[in-house]
Symmetry: C2
Amino acid sequence: MSAVKADALQRFAAQIFARAGLPDAHAALVAEVLVWANLRGMDSHGVMRIPRYVALIEAGDMNPLPTLAIVSETAASVLLDADRAAGPVAMTAAIDHAMRKARAAGIGLALVRATTHTAALGYYTSRAAVAGMAGLAISASWPNMAYHGARAAGVATSPLSIAVPGGDAEPIVLDMASGIVSVGKLAQARQAGRPIPEGWAFDADGNPTTDPTRAQIPLPLGGPKGSGLALMIELITSLIVANPILAESLEGTETGRHHRQNGAAIAIDISRFGDVAVFRREAARLARALKALPRVPDTDEILLPGERGHRTRASRARAGIALPAPIAAELAALAQKLGVPPLSAER
Amino acid sequence: MSAVKADALQRFAAQIFARAGLPDAHAALVAEVLVWANLRGMDSHGVMRIPRYVALIEAGDMNPLPTLAIVSETAASVLLDADRAAGPVAMTAAIDHAMRKARAAGIGLALVRATTHTAALGYYTSRAAVAGMAGLAISASWPNMAYHGARAAGVATSPLSIAVPGGDAEPIVLDMASGIVSVGKLAQARQAGRPIPEGWAFDADGNPTTDPTRAQIPLPLGGPKGSGLALMIELITSLIVANPILAESLEGTETGRHHRQNGAAIAIDISRFGDVAVFRREAARLARALKALPRVPDTDEILLPGERGHRTRASRARAGIALPAPIAAELAALAQKLGVPPLSAER
């Protein structure tokens, strides 16, 4: 592992995306969202995604030069066609539209049609929280998780993020997938050769397994709850914007074989209902009460959603972001191919 | 167990609430929402709650004659002070306000301040779905579930419901709590003397237990996910409407010892973004694709969220609702006390 400073990593990522065809502003934004995830310890949503994003551009599934268009607009909502933009470009536009609408109408909704991998949703909801609003984001993707009762993938591990202003500068930010375990965590167990607990995953044939080399299909969180939530996310994003993802993939259509995502962002302007300073004070009060609860053995501290990420960011901002050797090598090869100066020179 | 026809049970419940002091229209609505839950097999949210509701009125925590007031209103939202109304009265008003706003603004939000037990949230979201909208409802209550890392109750088993129009007349309706198990299911295991699985609950002292007679505190669904979701529900309802519930209870204030709930309802008008008929067709298509997936052993059919409830309603509408003897006896005693004709005479 070699540790890289966040700003150097972000510049490197932006250069790659610029060479891959994104306008500079979009390249910088995608780099910022990925490195934001690395800084907060969510490495599965960080720069390790860069080669995949570039491959999506090469395959024609991600459009490096999208025209984001408002298809329809009401007092409190927009329907945004993202023209297969990189997810961070589309979702940042979405939360900004949602916040603009919320300022005027109390709540704002941006539905996003036809984007690609939406990356870490907490980035977008935190953006609302930092502006004194509540933010909510969801995204819909192709089937990679078992639907309850099925022994095959039927829904996506669709994530949900909610963020609000916290008692101090840091927002309280929940960012959870609807699976009992992420595809990334299964990959980590596979790399480590560590058996996985029962109830986490099926193998490719839909049989329960604890063998990490065979685990392929994560199971939903709480059975029908997790797969139900994932299904509702497809329904209220993909089906409202008339761009179905799951059915296309499950039916095996040509469209269904391509990487496609839809999403939605909601903002609620807290100041339209009360005093944001009072909200923050009450959030701090509740945090104190929760942290004072008696703890289970081996738990040093009770944490709020997102709190571990805030701390990781503080330490990684100082110490840098450690990239596993295979990922560093993959990024170096990609940089060389695209004519981007190697990361090491930037440290 | 004696089976009672739904309409007789609903008239009986309405008479009880009317005698307990609710206006006839409110009494009928609360009865309808409770019997709706019984019909759909959610008996824990049905008429077994009647004695508790009457006790809440007697204790002064539920106001039988509330004045529901719009505290503030924007193009897409209302803040509704429910004046400690019965939850079904407040939440039905909320979803109706949300739908009214959604028709005008694409999305509508009703925040509910100071209500009481909100009953089965699926009733309200289904109301939106039947009108061709997506509905979302949440409610915040006092601490009865462990917060992740704590060995004591820190958050509520706060429920979340989402409903959309389905392929046929029945909506697709998810109604899930944020606990791994409901307090009601723990009570059922206790009555049956059945050990509960590891990981479901703590005893009163915060120790893990499989003994149903000792299980008191349900654990959150997926650890930090479930308790994080429950916390966010408190933050985006109770803290936005400046009526905190968890902190009051955790600090042991006088206010915190009273039964209080807050809630929120959101409606999205699908017709403002596309064609509801297309939405329904795509929902049917996705349902077909999911139902065609290979099934796990001992699963006869893959079900959509709410589908089991629709079927139970069909059978219970014919066969009646079976009331366990202790509940029937409790209701009979309450009816006698309030001068309501016994249920048996109404069959």
